[in-house]
Symmetry: C2
Subunit: 357 residues, 2 copies
Amino acid sequence: MPEFATSQEFTREEVGLALRNPGMPLEGLRYPITPIGMHYLLAHFDIPFIDPATYELPVTGRVGKPLGLTLDDLKARPAVRMPAMMECAGIGRAHLSPRPISMPWHNEAIGCSEWTGTPLRPILEEAGLLEDAVEILFTGHDRGIDQDVEQNYERSLPLEEALREEVILAYEMNGQPLPPQHGAPLRLVVPEWYGMASVKWLKEIKAISEPFEGLQQALLYHYRQSEEDPGTPVTRKNPHALMVPPGIPDYLSRTRHVSPGRTLVEGRAWSGYGPVERVEFSPDGGRTWDDATLGEPVGRYAWRPWSYEWDAGEPGEYELCARATDASGRTQPADDGAWNQGGYGVNVVQRVTVVVG
Amino acid sequence: MPEFATSQEFTREEVGLALRNPGMPLEGLRYPITPIGMHYLLAHFDIPFIDPATYELPVTGRVGKPLGLTLDDLKARPAVRMPAMMECAGIGRAHLSPRPISMPWHNEAIGCSEWTGTPLRPILEEAGLLEDAVEILFTGHDRGIDQDVEQNYERSLPLEEALREEVILAYEMNGQPLPPQHGAPLRLVVPEWYGMASVKWLKEIKAISEPFEGLQQALLYHYRQSEEDPGTPVTRKNPHALMVPPGIPDYLSRTRHVSPGRTLVEGRAWSGYGPVERVEFSPDGGRTWDDATLGEPVGRYAWRPWSYEWDAGEPGEYELCARATDASGRTQPADDGAWNQGGYGVNVVQRVTVVVG
């Protein structure tokens, strides 16, 4: 289980992870599809080096006909090109107090790429799932030690989730071969769920007859209030709106400086529980809210653009906020009511301090 | 001038910068050309959003015939495709004590891309430098506040450096249009110098008759021992060898775990003062050194591969080190003899703790 910090300072381990795992600078919210190299990344262990020419993916376990698929086999199958927004389950962790010691994300663990790949379901159908299969286990080539356990990164999906038609095995990102750091040569993409489900560098797909109890499944990625709390698994993305911080930044503090007058504030919003139906903007730290204008996302699993013309008015300091509400009625908390032990799924309202003048 | 920290903990500002500015995870040293999106990035202010269709670059100042070059004009000129290793001048800053508060790089502020662009010299010749031109000033579109001064990022080069044939205006990285974060649509690439010289998002090129005294030129990017020390400007890259940390990592501590027996340790080395002529490896924290095997770089300005077959031997903890020596005789210090106020050009020997067993 995690160690915690209450300090405003960060440990060398947290900084080490931040230097390895890039976030998307929030000005990247200007793009409907995140440019290559700006998408967030979380690699638990090292980025593996895999030769695509000799790559083969076994589909095994509780199936009638085990398969071994080369990259050419996979590319010969029906291809879909699908925009999908992805967000790390650890987003917002650094806003919590006490803060679990892990990757210290603030708001930048996001991106929206166009993924090209082949649907998983027909592959599982071809392999012939046996009656007793209850989950599909996805194992990555990335290997290391976490919580003193040596392991490959691996996660399972319940059968009904694995069989969703939009769950794909992706070999391209934005029309290019997957970069090594994003899972080359082949990764899973599970729209609507947090990123931990979209296993990178796939080594094996296995139908299993008992729920998977591995560390990344049963111990980590749970919403728990204490170590004793059995908690609930982290699955779909909570609703979340973020804005491009307006104006220009200070290099070190990143405080924003905005000219008086009208400023178009732009951002994007998403949810894993249904389409975003409302985005609200507040210029005063959440005391008053007004509806933003919504645009159309470039695809069902993409983020939705929004904008708000803000009159920056008198010189002074302002705290800008945005919040999303989705079709299920879920919205975002104002503070760390979202606290949980692992620091997962934190969707507290974004707060951007700007100085007008 | 910078604030300092002596603590092993890092400030929220340092972490904010680390989350915006990705490093290259050291397993990326496996690639002669860094895959797109893995190259380090340091953007002082926000990543600007520039429409390439209406982009125009003025070449002005002390010239006989000012130019205005569109992207099509630039692409119609002679093109070169050049591998060049790039390294942030702030590399190693976080190893120092006291540590200047800025981007807290450890060893990952590196990358080697293939840059496609057109040489600067013929453009300056076409514009006709006047007799009194002494420097060329490069201004970026990126704007913000640093040390309480609002500014566009801008840096100059002495004439003799700006006229080197390998100084190019680049519009492609690894054969693709520059990604927004790496300077789209046009950036400067100055091989052999630290990255601060390779101004991104070029807004203007201006011949000037007096040395440029802007903040990023005259105050920052100097080797100083104290605030009063006038110091010397940061220019060329110091010699530097880095290895891919062998074995597998622990998620949080990144401690490496290696099996007993032979391990091929691989890395790359570079210098801005001449070709790397020697790389040495130490398995015992620098007490004993042995020569590594050198390979050939993919270009004059690329990094040089090296390898060393290490017998990991008995179980226990080892501290692996590597150091480079270049044709000028320069090498790397064992400790922070490299200390300077801004934390620039730090090329202390890399130390990788591995546990064998």
